[in-house]
Symmetry: D2
Subunit: 349 residues, 4 copies
């Protein structure tokens, strides 16, 4: 495995998940030119994860697809910025590399699965339509950090209830903007009610992820109407959700549906899959970023479960809060889980 | 004028607005027993407002209605906690005092106007139905801090468009919880997705404020579905709003309707009325608490205008953010404006 | 083992360290009356530590020394508030219980060791002078959270250099004030330049801890002149230190002395002892609370090492920053290490 | 007057002070090329100061000294970055412009006054030694933001007591690093114990400012030993000070000396001079950035006074905290006061 864009916020999360992974092994770390030759340890900023000394000492290499192929690398995790990813990920796939990408560059392409394995596992078959597939290479994307937690909650609800509009407001963490990202003068004791492109991504990515499969993806009828804002929180995207329903339902029903939801990663016991992908809290003041950020069991799956709380239903309007870790479940962890599922389904054979 | 509950967060805002007011004069400051005998200056925590030295030296008196009456006080601003307000405000009104209250205790009573002068000025006539009115005393309430900015934006929209549901998520400031209020350990680098009773208040108060007048208030059909959260911001409640509409409308239309809205306080040029009660910002990242908190001109009306920004309409769903100052427009300033309107309409004669 | 004051900030840290401890076992949790009957899980606020489900289910008991003795409890960790500790800890010791206390109540008593095992291990012998010792009970205190990290750095320096005055300014974390502790309105985007009694504690406790042993403690000549302030940081006390020296010395010498320092806990390989009690960082911007809070290896000793950085010497003035975890090394972890050393020295036999 | 570097944090403060100044008038605003042609209003970020609409509409011009001279501009305020200031300020002075600079580029040059008018007013005469003086141009610098408040307190103390070493630790605000400045990921709920070059600047600038005048500046013997750190505060540098004294003195004496201190700006009643340059607070928890930031009367001088609090003396060690506004007194306000004094002393004639 190679991590492309290894020194950034998401790249470091990839490393944190892979440094002791039971299936995948890090053999190379690549980044942009001015970091080449440095060692990962110099760039490490994840204060909550100790970095393996061997990995800390790995040298950062340049983003050279040919060299990676020559080195026998068969798969890559990409945390590249979109403008770099747009070409390089395609080059890598064509060179036979299986690419699991957090970049937004190719998410909406018709033959690229936008995968959340609990939600739309069968979409992974789209890779077989990619031109590069014959040569062993393909591209799988994970969605935007702000939609991942939400679709985990919407999937089991939409399977049972008719859902049209989903009104959501986000309380997004600083790490979502990368480093250096948001200026402290813009956000200290303030809220920034704007995140470039985020609301549109939430709407169109939800339509694809929740879309049905019928020899291709039929976009979901669900409209996610988002108001996105950044708050002075380090990690964890919290979202306030309000959904008109077409039928009577109790908050207990909703809680039961969400807390009993399990998908293919759970059935297959994938290494990074949380036992329960949606955890329902009944306390009156949860989920909170600080306290629920690392939801998910077992230890390897910490930060991979979404937490839902404050479920209320009144006059056929369902409201709740949902939280997920934006750089784990909503970023690097999402792609690692995608790779584990692709591996289990035989795409690495 | 007396300020009841003068040492708390809202009480201090009352003082800040009244210390150089052209109509009203502070003649007494009252608070709970353990503060009696102290001077206001000892309790002052409004870092953004210099306190007049004469007012700083005023002694805090006990909450004794009879003494106030004997002292010839005819009107009061109340920043009392609800459990104290529930009886004391009624006693004061019955003793002939005109009470303008920020407390929630009596807001939903049928003969108490829940007044936002730009929105429902005629509701003030409800005071004439109060038993105490014959003796010159009455009670007028201002609404919850989190609904005031929103109804300023909804009033002109609802006058033109058919609005059923309003989905709103709040980013509420620390000062809304009073002092000491929220523990720093609960909110530093965190979001608290729960504020006791707030969501219900928003729904029921909006129905009353936006209700039509027909020999009494006919509750509005508008349902405000709120998800309320506290964020680490000192002052200013920001709200993300999403409204399904029954017709096509452009964001330009919405901006025009909001920015041209004026009400009775503007027509009557009340001292604390902002020239424009709703200010529309066209920058992509406004309103922000830090920058738009003190919207409103002239100087006396700073913090009395709501700021709306990021107006978007897509597929008949209108979205925007609205910000208002929770202890000025949404608290003390609201009641001062109520008193100014009551005064101009002759209720002090 | 019983934890006294188990539901507070320090009490919870005691539990976090003891829930899988190789020597000590939690058999009871006690707290003030209004929490009795609840379960620890309801009070848990340590977002960085998962609570063992068995411990979470333990019922909170009242602070009844006789019952503890009847239950066969031989040792206690005390996180009691000082006003409760002042009598209860003495009662417990007299009843034969070995008390390891974080409370300030008895720290300055002549026969109570104020113990930091790397710094003044021999002071533990003071317990033998306590009246209760004959009956198996005694009292050992750990010092104030703001002095612990500093004395770890001062001990090896003072062993080599003549040190008179130590000028220190603190950047103290919110958790040091307990819960609810500091109001968010006092500290959000602010600094509070005052912590009740803290500066005096630092001076007098340093004199005792660094004091020589000569049939009793001879107070150290070192004067710690502190300016204490609270900053909006969740955990970790950072301190800026400036020390006039009587001789020439290089910053390299200081780094070498600090980074090679080891004490009795290291030699005895106590379970909670960090391999190196003082870690020296050479980066230009360390130590930082967020990144160095959990310094210390192995895993059980995370948060038990102090981190020193930015060592500079100019004109015989030594300056550096030191950071330590205020509720681990500077609180519960300190007392756990004290108990481990007392145990190894045979005081539990 | 022209403001050089008008769009940055300090540049905007210059504008805020000059937009209604009784002596000086803004006639041009200059900035780096990529901002040329824009209007100041687009760049405004000072949430606490309303910008005059006329000034908001002024067009940003390029940094072209010849054009400024042709336009008849005789004086400039410089908020340029040091690498630009190093040549451009000299060019401007040689072209006959009186330059009042906040840049560090020329502060330590022998013939450039490093001026704090209350502290070293006579140093202004150094301008007469500058080569450009004959042509009417000269250069006056204000000191680093972190030393200004401190020297205001040291001046009257050093006039009476013998002071050798001053140990100081800083709690510096975000605005000191400009915009975008500090990444929110580095400082949210954290402290950064490093500010490039700051400690050295404090030491050498204090020696120059406090130096005696004897046909040139004789550097002061006072050594300022600083530990500098950034905290998550928006504006206002707080400093913890510890000073060994050679004699006995009471804290009351120190308070009296500081609070009665007045200098030439006060005697000459300069427009931006605070009535009292050092304000002494006696509350136990002051000064605080949020509450004391804008100390200084009259209104025009808000933010121009330093606030000292928590004065303690024990065993001939004096400790206190001092706060000053880093972009007003410690930046733009300092240079405006310098210009007012130069003007009153006849250097504009």
């Amino acid at each position: 495995m190679v991590v492309l864009g290894a020194t950034g916020t998401i790249g470091q999360r990839f490393v944190s998940l892979l440094q002791d992974h039971p299936i995948f092994e890090i053999v190379a770390l690549c980044s942009s030119e001015r970091k080449v030759g440095g060692h990962l340890g110099e760039f490490w900023r994840l204060e909550d994860v100790p970095l393996d000394p061997d990995v800390a000492g790995m040298e950062i290499e340049s983003l050279d697809v040919k060299r990676l192929v020559r080195a026998g690398i068969v798969a890559a995790f990409s945390a590249l910025p979109s403008d770099v990813a747009v070409e390089l990920e395609v080059d890598a796939a064509r060179a036979g590399i299986k690419v699991f990408s957090n970049a937004s560059a190719h998410r909406m392409e018709a033959d690229v699965p936008l995968l959340v394995p609990e939600v739309n596992p069968d979409h992974v078959a789209l890779v077989e339509r990619q031109r590069s597939f014959a040569g062993g290479g393909f591209l799988v994307a994970n969605p935007n950090c702000s939609i991942t937690g939400l679709v985990l909650a919407l999937r089991p609800l939409a399977d049972i209830f008719e859902i049209g509009s989903v009104h959501v407001a986000t309380y997004q963490a600083l790490s979502g903007a990368g480093y250096p990202g948001v200026s402290s003068l813009d956000i200290t004791a303030n809220v920034m009610p704007f995140i470039e492109g985020e609301e549109e991504k939430m709407r169109r990515e939800a339509k694809k992820i929740l879309g049905a499969w019928s020899d291709g993806i039929v976009p979901s009828a669900i409209d996610v109407w988002a108001n996105c804002a950044r708050v002075p929180v380090r990690d964890g995207h919290l979202e306030a959700v309000s959904i008109p329903l077409a039928q009577d339902v109790s908050s207990q029903d909703v809680a039961r549906i969400l807390s009993s939801f399990r998908g293919e990663p759970q059935r297959r016991k994938l290494p990074t899959a949380p036992e329960w992908p949606v955890i329902v809290r009944t306390e009156e003041d949860r989920p909170q970023p600080l306290r629920d950020l690392r939801a998910g069991e077992p230890a390897r799956a910490r930060g991979m479960a979404a937490t839902v709380g404050r479920i209320r239903v009144a006059d056929r309007v369902l409201r709740f809060f949902v939280l997920s870790h934006n750089t784990l479940r909503g970023g690097a962890g999402g792609s690692v889980l995608n790779a584990e599922m692709a591996h289990r389904r035989g795409y690495f054979d």
